[in-house]
């Protein structure tokens, strides 16, 4: 991970927008400086053009063919033409005039005769002593003699002004950035402070203490949203942990019964001596309990897989009445043994979509219970129908029914109403509704 990646979010945020801001400010300052430089040059060029026209009027040719600058004609104000750099060249390339300020230096190579574009118009050059000079070249004629003029003005004041601006910007910019950066850091830290308190609280949350929730500052901002989602996740976790705990407790309770039986049967049989038949019977009895255990473990496994959502339902469409008849035909024999009357009726046109095997299993379980809890010569009526788009199988037995206070718990696993409860008459009524996912409900009469 890079050094940047190791920074905190607020550090990274601050760094990022300081960098972005510096880029923008530097571009802006550069633009402003360039604009200033151009403006100043334009002003200088304007002055040069004006001055060259003035100077043209001041030039005079003497008898030796030398040029003189008649500054004595000028008024007081214009005397400061002096610092101008001026050169006059003849058409053949010899120097006719050179202002004394130039000393031994010059304003560039001799102009070529006619049409050297470099010798006409403005350009910037650097004198031998390093002074930057803006010069303008002109064609001119004095008393009919063609003369090339070059007038130069020092650019130094212009550059001084430019550098003043640049240095002002160079000092101000880092200060501004520092100010913005630190303010940004403080703001970011304040905005992210709820995260710290959330992290502190989250550290205390363990599997045993899932009841804790994260504090939520502003439920409408991103952090509040995060906290809310996290709290909802915690809620789901807590519920599934509770479920798991209950499941483990139930399972160990259920497993204990056959285990106790195996153990006591074995122990008791070893305390006495019997014949082969006796021991055969004991082993058989222990095997029966082992079978019970096997079945229990199987259903526990199925349940935990169902809880984990790992059971793939195999959907198909089939007439519900066929399923009910099939389930009844399996269980019927048990009813016959108790002289019970089992009947199936209903609408053959009710077609449902669902996992046939699982529904069949559920129905067989239900009918098995109906037979088990109905008295001798009782009645078990199975009715298939549909109501407002929902198919149902209605199983009515003549058992004791489920007391009202137990009804809400009917769908809990391993739930069994105390078997000693006795009652008579038209007891339980079950309606198993098969929706797409198979929601299950029941009504009691």
């Amino acid at each position: 991970m890079s050094a940047f990646g190791r920074l905190s979010i607020r550090g990274r945020l601050t760094l990022l927008y300081v960098a972005l801001l510096s880029l923008v400010l530097v571009l802006y300052a550069g633009g402003a400086a360039a604009f200033l430089l151009r403006n100043l040059r334009e002003q200088l060029d304007h002055r040069l053009n004006e001055d060259v026209e003035t100077i043209e009027g001041l030039l005079a040719l003497d008898n030796n063919g030398h040029i003189h600058l008649m500054t004595e004609n000028l008024d007081e104000d214009a005397r400061d033409f002096q610092p101008h750099f001026l050169e006059a060249w003849s058409g053949t390339g010899s120097v006719l005039y050179r202002s004394p300020q130039l000393g031994e230096g010059d304003l560039g190579a001799p102009p070529t005769p006619a049409g050297n574009p470099g010798s006409i118009g403005q350009r910037s050059i650097r004198l031998a002593d390093g002074t930057r000079v803006r010069i303008v070249g002109r064609r001119h004629s004095i008393n009919g003699t063609p003369v090339r003029l070059r007038l130069g003005l020092s650019e130094e004041p212009l550059w001084r002004e430019f550098w003043e601006l640049v240095s002002a910007l160079a000092i101000g910019l880092p200060i501004a950035l520092l100010l913005i950066g630190s303010t940004g850091y403080v703001v970011a830290r304040r905005a992210l402070r709820p995260l710290d308190s959330m992290a502190k609280r989250a550290e205390k949350i363990t599997a045993e203490r899932l009841g804790e929730r994260l504090p939520i500052g502003n439920p409408n901002d991103e952090l509040g949203h995060l906290g809310r989602v996290f709290n909802e996740t915690l809620g789901r976790l807590e519920r599934s942990f509770d479920q798991l705990r209950r499941f483990t407790a139930d399972a160990s309770h259920e497993l204990r019964t056959p285990l106790t039986a195996i153990r006591s049967v074995g122990e008791v049989s070893l305390q006495r001596t019997g014949d082969a038949e006796y021991y055969r019977d004991i082993v058989g009895s222990m095997l029966e309990e082992a079978n019970r255990l096997t079945r229990l473990v199987d259903s526990l496994l199925t349940m935990s897989r169902a809880d984990a959502g790992r059971i793939q339902l195999q959907y198909s469409e089939f007439p519900l009445l066929d399923l009910a008849k099939e389930a009844a035909s399996v269980i019927e024999v048990l009813a016959e043994e108790k002289n019970q009357n089992m009947s199936v009726e209903g609408d053959h046109g009710v077609v449902v979509r669902g996992d046939r095997l699982i529904l069949r299993q559920a129905l067989i379980n239900l009918l098995d219970n109906a037979v088990k809890y109905s008295p001798e010569s009782g009645r078990i009526e199975i009715r298939v129908g549909s109501d407002v788009g929902e198919a149902f199988v209605d199983v009515r037995d003549s058992g004791p029914g489920i007391p009202a206070e137990h009804r809400s718990k009917v769908f809990e696993r391993f739930y069994r109403v105390d078997e000693s409860i006795q009652g008579g008459g038209w007891g339980r009524s079950w309606a198993v509704n098969f929706g797409v996912g198979g929601p299950c409900s029941w009504g009691a009469s």
Partner: protein
Amino acid sequence: MRILVVEDEPKVGRALREGLQAEDYDVTLAPTGEEGFFLASSQPFDLIVLDILLPGRDGVEILSTLRKRGMRIPVLMLTAKDAIEDRVAGLDAGADDYLVKPFAFAELSARIRALLRRGKPESPVPLRIDTLEMDLVTRTVSRDGQRIDLTAREFDLLEFLVRNKGRVVSREMLAREVWKETSRATPIDNVIDVHVARLRRKVDDQSRRKLVHTVRGVGFTVREEE
């Protein structure tokens, strides 16, 4: 018939060896994956019973290596985990059949017989025992020459028991083979018991020699009483 049993749990291994020896198989027991692999690749066997969870080298690995070497012998896989993925992994590796632990020994022995018989024409079993005769074409049964009326389910039940005469069949096998219940979770043990009781009344009540026997804790068997 030589059978190699690769099983690390000593109690289970010994029980399997004893049980299979009682059925006249020549049984070699390998308590580790390595030993099992060594034996399987160095000695000829007719069938291998292979536990999937073994210390060191697990069953799936051993099996796929054996198959890669071109060994064709039938392999029955034992798996403790009742998970689809396990079965798929086992069958992918080349197992011919699998059995989920805990299993009934009767079931194991039936699967082994089926695997050893595989590919060979089924020897016709005379559906006759003592004075009981079954006719599969007319679906009629007689005892001592007297015709017995059986329901369709009772007939299928009797047929399965007679085909496996002399051997114990578990309720689970009956549920699967006669009732076609694929899930172990469907509670039809009571149903099976009632049917067997009725069958016994019809077949044995009029006769001195009983044929249908209950083996407590295991299942049922049809055999002539010694």
